[in-house]
Subunit: 399 residues, 2 copies
């Protein structure tokens, strides 16, 4: 009687593994600027709370396994307003966060031992989910020097093997902040068609695209409708992470029938959160614009501050609220831990996510960190100045 | 590019597979008595809704991955009041329903291809979850004639193989309404110790035990602390199915660390529902007593009515709100479908869950149905009278 090998192989969250050291530091009175967790600090629109407060029932029953019909309709309308057509009845299923949407999608496209192609670096929680359901990642590399653009067609194609069942891609990218151009998206689509793969497009950061660039969804690309699964969530879109409401959408009706089977097997997503989520879709488009502008200011601010640090390789993020710079230290996990345990500037320090956990079969992450710009500009500036002083001090000690 | 073999093998929910026929019947104006779904019709205590209405925040953030500390403490106190000790800090993790608690537990105790021992019949959604995570059921039989008591020690032991990693048991039982005696529980514990297996005890129906019998939790049995995982939920306990709040508890701290890793990988259970769930634990014990008495009346009523039907094998359920009788028809799936499509009594019919989907490697379910007594006595009586007339009519047609 012992715990399974597969669960032992599940890595500790790259984003939260240093939390015990942070807790210890806080106990000692240190103030910590958290750049490690991608949770927006923006307010959730009041429509959510109003809907919940006005929900009048005596009995909190299961929602429909596919999700409340009014939420599926609101989600469908949201897509339609953006030129994408998903039928609320049989092409959208509401899930408990995009995490569950990913689990359902992967189970539908992969058998045990199959490979899922994604790019290095990728969202670290994908690791956890791959292990749980018995599939393995395979990757092609992207690089800090060009802001993590996709490699050319041949490089991506060469990464596909007989065991590959799907391409999984986060766009805008968690953890890099890359936003793929229409040409890059068509490149991935071409690989998928050439090698007959599913595409799982994790588009939860779609509202966060900077510099007036347009977000291009995989769902806008013709000719891949049958092989495309779109994952989405209200967490980032409406600053409502705690609701745990996501969705999976596909025009492949055979596949969606299987998703419904899995959805039925866990009964339903939470009812009250779906009630609130439905009303969020009434929020005016100004809301998205305001939030995007705020994060763009932060992007500008963090890019400017990081650029000032000697030896840092950085680029302006194009979307999401992440940047993954390379730092001039030998090992970012050691460094990030040291920032919490042994360093402070006037009682303040900073917490970042070491990037190693965002990679598969690569050492590139050992010199990188993921920074989430989820603080206001003033705090971001303070945090990056502390990071700068930390780098200097850490490297002195290492000599 | 095609959907995976494993998802194709996921069975359609035995409980909901006939829903399209029910929808069709409703469109034609038929009234349907739903005895197929195990969702209590009792009111959710107002404490839940009050807590949510009073929750004052501007930003709906992630809860702790382990669950809100106040909910873990309330859960721990609930157990303590019943003589069971689980530390809120490192022996309890809050999950999105007991469904997620089961997924986490199974991943922690089993590698791909492992076998999970359970009894025939078992809760049909276990099938769905086994398929998803790559494990297989193995079973020992229980029988309608004695109300689905557990078989003797040797029979259970003989069902264990080298590949078995855990025993999974629902007590009180969904789908049979059996409640295991202390002796039966010790029998399973003895097998687990003898063959070094984990025990996953699904105790979500623990409040529903009739005839002044005492509910014995596996957690009360000494000597199995390290191998025991208890699954629980507020869904049935407080008539709050839509909240999707469950828990996994174990004194095996190594195992609970792995559960936390999995919990971190999906970020958190829904925040607002946890806020509501916490306050449910303030409900007076009268609440449980009232609900239990109501379901006991229904149990009496359904047992009495079913006993009147010629050729039905039935027994008084000891707990939960299910009974799984054998009906005098050749195939209960055909019969249950026919009740919806081709039969009514003055425009009314009844929906039951054919039992085949609750079995593994056995034909016993083809003559049985699961009946959930989640209607008031008057409606239950009407429903069973319709069932009786249906059996007579169906068998006439079959001749």
């Amino acid at each position: 009687m012992k715990v399974s090998q597969r669960v032992k192989e599940v890595p500790y969250s790259a984003i939260r593994k240093l939390t015990p050291f942070a807790d210890e530091a806080k106990k000692k009175g240190k103030k910590i600027y958290h750049l490690n967790i991608g949770e927006p600090d923006t307010e959730t629109p009041g429509e959510f709370f109003d809907a919940i407060k006005n929900y009048d029932t005596k009995r909190l029953g299961y929602a429909h396994s596919k999700g409340l019909v009014e939420l599926r309709e609101a989600t469908s309308k949201y897509y339609k307003d953006r030129g994408v057509d998903f039928d609320p009845d049989d092409e959208i299923v509401i899930t408990t966060g995009a995490s569950e949407a990913l689990v359902f999608s992967l189970i539908c496209v992969s058998d045990l031992g199959d490979k899922i192609l994604t790019c290095n670096p990728f969202y670290s929680n994908y690791h956890t989910i791959f292990r749980q359901i018995g599939v393995n990642p395979q990757t092609f590399d992207t690089h800090v020097e060009d802001g993590y653009k996709l490699p050319d067609y041949e490089t991506i194609l060469a990464a596909v093997t007989e065991e590959t069942s799907a391409i999984l891609i986060s766009n805008p990218s968690n953890p890099t902040g890359a936003v793929y151009t229409e040409e890059e998206i068509r490149r991935l689509a071409r690989v998928a068609k050439e090698r007959d793969l599913f595409i799982i497009a994790d588009e939860v950061y779609r509202e966060y695209v900077f510099d007036n660039d347009e977000f291009i969804s995989f769902a806008e690309i013709e000719g891949i409708e049958d092989r495309l699964i779109v994952l989405d969530s209200i967490s980032k879109r409406f600053g409502a992470c705690g609701a745990r409401i996501g969705s999976v959408a596909s025009k492949n009706k055979d596949l969606m029938k299987e998703v419904v089977k899995l959805a039925t097997g866990r009964l339903a997503a939470p009812t009250i959160d779906q009630i609130g989520a439905t009303k969020l879709y009434d929020v005016s488009t100004d809301y998205f614009e305001d939030v995007k502008n705020e994060y763009q200011r932060r992007r500008d601010c963090i890019y400017e501050e990081l650029s000032k640090i000697d030896g840092v390789k950085v680029y302006p993020s194009r979307g999401a609220f992440y940047v993954m710079p390379e730092l001039p230290v030998d090992n970012t996990e050691d460094f990030a831990k040291w920032l919490l345990t042994d360093f402070d500037v006037d009682g303040e320090t900073v917490m970042v996510a070491p990037a190693d956990g965002f990679y598969h079969d690569s050492d590139a992450g050992k010199k990188q960190v993921r920074i989430a710009f989820v603080l206001n500009c003033e705090d971001l500036k303070k945090a990056i100045r502390i990071l700068n002083l930390g780098i200097i001090e850490y490297n002195k000690l290492k000599k």
